[in-house]
């Protein structure tokens, strides 16, 4: 929680004044029974109607002031909570943006999103409730007790028995039910899983004629859910009646002992009425407090999850700038690079060495899990190798300014992700001020212009979240075009053409070498046809280099490459006849 407190800094005033106003309201609320006692003891006893009118006026006035204070407090609370929430979210998102890939992997993207949206909301709600209720309820309890003490010390002993008793009951029941609610939630989750699976598998279920079985499994799970809900309901249903029972017994005790006090003349009738009133107030305040504890527990858990993110250091970055490279000179080199993912046990890459010239074409091929993507991710410094060095523009990537480096590299990920917005907005991700000509040129090179042009609004056409309104191949082509805007020094295609048919793939590769002759291309592929024209091909087998060389060299010398090539050629060879 502590690291988050600094986002409350700008709202110190609201944070202090809010509870103060709430306190004032509570004070006024506590005075009302006293005034009513006065009315009974003085006004009624002396038959003084003017007095009664005057005191009623005071009660109304107290109510009006109380309302004013309460409204002020709610206002301050909402401003403070949402102001805090806004600053927290901004800071959290900024921090998420500064995280290294390793840190993102550690949390997982979905969890980061969850922390950014849900957890911040819970903490924000906690702040709101803190200002509104955290002082009011304890104050009402304490205040009522104090008032009771000032009226009659001996009678107030009943308060000091009843209040802890009620708190104890609330505490015990909550401790018992919280884990039971969790169980019930798990049963509900199980039912949800069964439902989801049976809908997703509806074809298979019907193909196997297992509908009856599915229903009986589901019914069993729903029965368990019902039993779990009922048993937690049985216990939590004790809470209200039992605490009211304690309160009413307290009132009975007050009446009995109060009667004795009145008989000896140390208590008045009006004061007795006030006493019973305070008893009710205490109970209500305690119930609110119990709910508040639940809210705070949740808020603290969320605050901890957010703090975990803040506790991670931002990605380290050097300050060096990569040197400029003449065409034909070396732009990228791996020197005996080995790399292991954090917590990943086995080495993901072992002793990788290769070199790429400016304007050159490097192909990387290998089975799933052979480390192809890992090689690509080391180039823009997303991860740092444990040994060996990655040299870009003559300098070790470790020493380079990361943002600067990434601006020079066009990155196309395995999964083509587009963002909601227009085609133009998506295309401007790398260069915010790219002109329409630049964009169209990139789209043409990526073989995407032909279908973008046909879209109803051209570059202004909307892309839905994740690019859902486009086909897989269209998404990939736009993602490639997006990386081409601003002519990157190095273009990395991480198996980014898998959804393209052979002809489009070929046209794309031709266009790349014609339109962007100075751009070096690193292409990862499962298909030998995509990379066979490369200046150099790196063949990976379970993280180790199985061969480096041109297509012809590898066919001659590299068994793994030959195996891949042959298996695919058989398919393709038949394809001509099919």
């Amino acid at each position: 929680m502590r690291p988050l407190l600094k986002y409350l800094k700008n709202y110190r005033l609201q944070l202090v004044l809010g509870p103060v106003f709430k306190l004032l309201e509570a004070v006024f609320e506590l005075i009302v029974p006293v005034v009513m006692a006065d009315i009974i003891d003085n006004g009624v006893a002396n038959h003084d109607s003017a007095y009664i009118w005057r005191k009623t006026g005071i009660i109304v006035l107290l109510g009006v002031c109380g309302l004013g204070f309460a409204v002020t407090c709610q206002f301050l609370a909402s401003r403070c909570a949402y102001g805090f929430g806004r600053e927290l979210r901004d800071a959290l998102y900024r921090h998420i943006c500064s995280l290294s890939y390793e840190s993102v992997d550690r949390f997982g993207a979905a969890s980061l999103v969850n922390r950014l949206t849900n957890d911040t909301n819970t903490v924000q709600n906690g702040v709101n409730m803190f200002i509104r209720l955290a002082t009011r309820s304890p104050f009402l309890v304490i205040g009522a007790a104090v008032m009771a003490v000032t009226i009659d010390l001996r009678l107030s002993v009943i308060f000091f028995i009843a209040a802890p008793l009620i708190s104890g009951v609330i505490f015990v029941i909550m401790r018992k039910t919280v884990p039971m609610y969790k169980t019930a939630q798990q049963k509900l989750d199980r039912a949800a899983t069964l439902t989801r699976e049976s809908i997703e598998g509806s074809r298979v279920i019907r193909a196997f004629s297992r509908q009856g079985l599915e229903c009986s499994v589901f019914d069993r799970s729903v029965d368990e859910l019902t039993i779990a809900s009922e048993s937690v309901g049985r216990i939590s249903a004790i809470l209200n009646p039992f605490s009211f029972l304690i309160m009413d017994c307290g009132i009975a005790a007050i009446l009995w002992f109060g009667g004795e006090r009145i008989d000896t003349g140390s208590l008045t009738q009006g004061e007795l009425t006030a006493f019973t009133n305070y008893m009710t107030q205490i109970l209500l305040a305690l119930v609110v407090l119990a709910n508040l504890i639940v809210t705070f527990t949740k808020a603290f858990a969320s605050a901890n999850r957010i703090s975990e993110v803040f506790a991670v250091e931002p990605e380290s970055s050097g300050t060096d700038v990569p040197g400029s490279v003449q065409p034909g000179d070396e732009i990228l080199r791996f020197n005996d690079v080995s790399f292991t993912y954090k917590g990943g046990g086995d080495c993901s890459l072992k002793n990788i060495s290769f070199s790429l010239k400016k304007g050159g074409f490097l192909g990387i091929i290998g089975g799933t899990g052979s480390g192809k993507s890992t090689v690509a991710q080391l180039i823009p410094g997303f991860y740092e190798p444990q040994s060996g060095e990655v040299i870009y523009g003559g300098k070790d990537v470790k020493t380079l300014d990361k943002a600067m480096l990434r601006r020079r590299i066009g990155w196309v990920a395995q999964r083509a992700v587009l963002f909601s917005g227009s085609v133009r907005e998506n295309m401007r991700f790398r260069c915010p001020d790219a002109s329409d000509e630049d964009i169209i040129k990139a789209l043409k090179t990526a073989q995407a212009w032909d279908f973008v042009e046909k879209m109803p609004d051209g570059l202004d056409s909307r892309i839905a979240q994740g690019g859902r309104n486009l086909s897989g191949g269209q998404r990939q082509r736009i993602a490639i075009a997006r990386a081409l805007v601003g002519s990157p020094e190095v273009l990395i295609l991480d198996d980014s053409t898998s959804a393209l048919d052979y002809a489009t793939d070929l046209r794309l590769r031709r266009a790349l070498s014609e339109e962007l002759p100075e751009t070096s291309v690193v292409m990862i592929s499962q298909r030998t046809t995509s990379i066979k024209d490369a200046d150099c091909i790196l063949v990976l087998d379970e993280g180790s280099p199985a061969g480096v060389g041109t297509h012809d060299e590898l066919l001659r010398d590299c068994a793994v490459y030959r195996e891949i090539f042959n298996s695919q050629m058989n398919e393709k060879g038949g394809g001509g006849n099919g």
Binding site: C97, E197, V222, T226
Partner: protein
């Protein structure tokens, strides 16, 4: 409103088997509430026993306190019993409802499930019914006790003093007006807030969810700026929405305070003997009156809360009933039930025409004869209607015209279940349910022995990786428990292998699984198909080459029919 009542009636029809709990709820509520309402009277009586120094009537006081304690204990007991009854009533009602909807989903035509979003359907079974459950619980507990409290309070107040009671009744609308004004104001802000919150969440999902890509494109600075904008819009509207909604409590407290003051004033004037209009009144009665006025507005707030809750519940119930009202697949238990041993394996399409919607025509006048043991490859670009063939063969969908003959028998004359038992199906989209590996493999044959399961797994080359799982065949797996696509595919094939049906429908995987697994799957398919009539949606040339019949489909039509040679 009429819709609301109709929907709620239908919800209550599910409560019919538990009607006893409903009546008990009402009886206990009435008992609990009337006893708790008597409490202020007893307190008032007790106060009246304690007039002043030396004049306390202890004998009477003891009696009153005794009565008070009995009332209090019984009221608490009844309240607890009432909660138990409501719990049972609500939870059992929704259990039946849930079970019904789930069962319904097994009986609706697949076209309905295909048309609906999957998340939406499961949300009806889970979330919507949860909302109904909350609505029922709240409705039963708070609505009845609220109504009884209001009526009871009025009666008690009327018995003490008619005129003050009337004043209270006249002041009541104040509380309603205030509450409804606040709700109206808040509602507008809430709508706006949830819209802006949605925008913030989807921004977060898109950008923070793809953080790696954002970093790779060095888009961070601009993303932070855009987020700040969305965030600040949300926060300022959110602050207003929260503020206005938080007014409800203080305002109703205030109105309550006004009623309290008015009762105090009139009662005190009456007790002081200054108002002939009010009539005489004791201090004890006055204090009971004050206690009533203190709790009088509370049930009003609760009931309006319950109405909001019930409206939510009704909206959810409507969504649930929409599913229940879907047309079901007609019962075919009177049809012929075939045995897989009766099935020779010959399949004929006789002049089949089919389309998913009348506007777009798909398959037209398709005729095809497949002999027992033949292998049919179906090829064509994505979306050309290859999977329609599966839908028709297994009767997930029925053709608009024409007949499909199985071993010379019209497939519509056979029960769907027995027809499907003649086919083994492996889809490209794997389906693994949460359960052990063994349970997944023996899905189609629950009584299979462990030996049979292992034999099936071995036959499809899945035994190796299964043994490497932490608990072997007893490892609990699910769709996203870390198995690779290829491994899941092998399990699905093993499932069919164990069934050993006379006919097969296979959909080859296109997704890039690694070379070795791919070859394994190919081998598993080959093994499975030996000697069986099989339909393969083929992506691989080797499959096509080895087929007896090749159907090339484009836009739902078979453009070519022939063999590879």
């Amino acid at each position: 409103m009429a819709d609301f009542i109709r929907t709620m009636k239908r919800v209550f029809s599910y409560a019919r088997p538990y009607i006893i709990w409903f009546w008990l709820t009402i009886i206990f509520a009435a008992g609990s509430v009337s006893l708790s309402l008597a409490v202020p009277i007893f307190i008032g009586d007790a106060v009246d026993c304690c007039v002043g120094q030396g004049s306390v009537d202890f004998g009477e006081l003891r009696k009153i306190i005794f009565r008070l304690l009995i009332a209090v204990v019984l009221s608490a007991l009844f309240q607890w019993l009432m909660s138990l009854c409501t719990n049972r009533l609500a939870f059992r009602t929704v259990r039946d409802l849930r079970s019904d909807v789930f069962g319904k989903l097994q009986r609706v035509p697949l076209s309905y499930i295909d048309r609906s979003t999957k998340g939406g359907l499961s949300s009806r079974v889970i979330n919507d019914i949860e909302i109904i459950s909350d609505g029922l619980l709240q409705g039963f507990t708070q609505f009845f006790s609220g109504v009884i409290t209001i009526l009871g309070t009025l009666i008690f107040m009327l018995t003490i003093n008619v005129k003050i009671a009337l004043v209270v009744v006249l002041l009541t609308p104040l509380s309603f007006i205030a509450a409804s004004q606040i709700t109206k104001m808040t509602h507008r802000f809430y709508l706006r807030q949830s819209e802006l919150r949605g925008r913030m969440v989807s921004f977060s999902e898109e950008y923070a969810g793809n953080q790696k890509l954002v970093t790779a494109m060095d888009f961070c600075d601009r993303a932070v700026g855009q987020f700040a904008q969305v965030n600040s819009d949300f926060s300022s509207v959110g602050a207003n929405a929260t503020f206005f909604s938080s007014l409800a409590n203080p305002v109703t407290r205030f109105v309550n305070g006004l009623i309290y003051a008015a009762v105090g004033l009139l009662g005190a004037l009456g007790a002081a003997g200054h108002s002939a209009f009010i009539g005489a009144m004791s201090v004890g009665r006055l204090s009971s009156f004050l206690a009533y006025s203190n709790q009088y507005t509370k049930p009003f707030n609760e009931i309006s809360g319950v109405f909001a809750e019930l409206q939510n519940a009704a909206a959810s119930a409507e969504r649930v009933f929409a599913v229940l009202d879907e047309e079901e697949i007609p019962d075919d238990s009177d049809k012929l039930s075939v045995n897989s041993s009766d099935c020779s394996g010959s399949v004929s399409f006789d002049d089949i025409s089919f389309s998913y919607s009348p506007e777009t025509r798909l398959i037209e006048h398709l005729s095809l004869d497949v002999l027992p043991g033949q292998r049919v490859a179906i090829v064509g670009p994505t979306g050309c209607g290859k999977s329609t063939m599966i839908n028709l063969l297994l009767r997930f969908y029925d053709p608009q015209s024409g007949k499909i003959l199985l071993s010379g028998r019209d497939s519509t004359e056979i029960t769907r279940d027995s027809l499907r038992s003649c086919f083994g199906m492996v889809l490209q989209e794997t389906w693994i349910f949460t359960g052990t590996v063994a349970q997944n493999i023996s899905y189609g044959k629950p009584d299979a022995t462990r030996e049979e399961i292992i034999a099936a797994a071995k036959a499809v080359h899945a035994h190796g990786f299964i043994k490497r799982l932490p608990n072997g065949y007893d490892s609990v797996i699910s769709e996203d428990s870390g198995l690779s696509q290829g491994q899941k595919q092998l399990l699905c094939i093993a499932r069919v292998m164990l069934m050993d049906p006379p006919m097969l429908i296979l959909d080859e995987a296109t997704s890039s699984i690694d070379l070795r697994t791919e070859q394994r799957i190919q081998r598993a398919f080959e093994k499975l198909m030996t000697g069986k009539t099989s339909f393969v949606i083929a992506h691989r040339l080797s499959t096509i080459k080895n087929s007896d019949v090749i159907l090339v489909m484009r836009d739902g039509n078979i453009v070519e029919k022939g063999s590879h040679a």
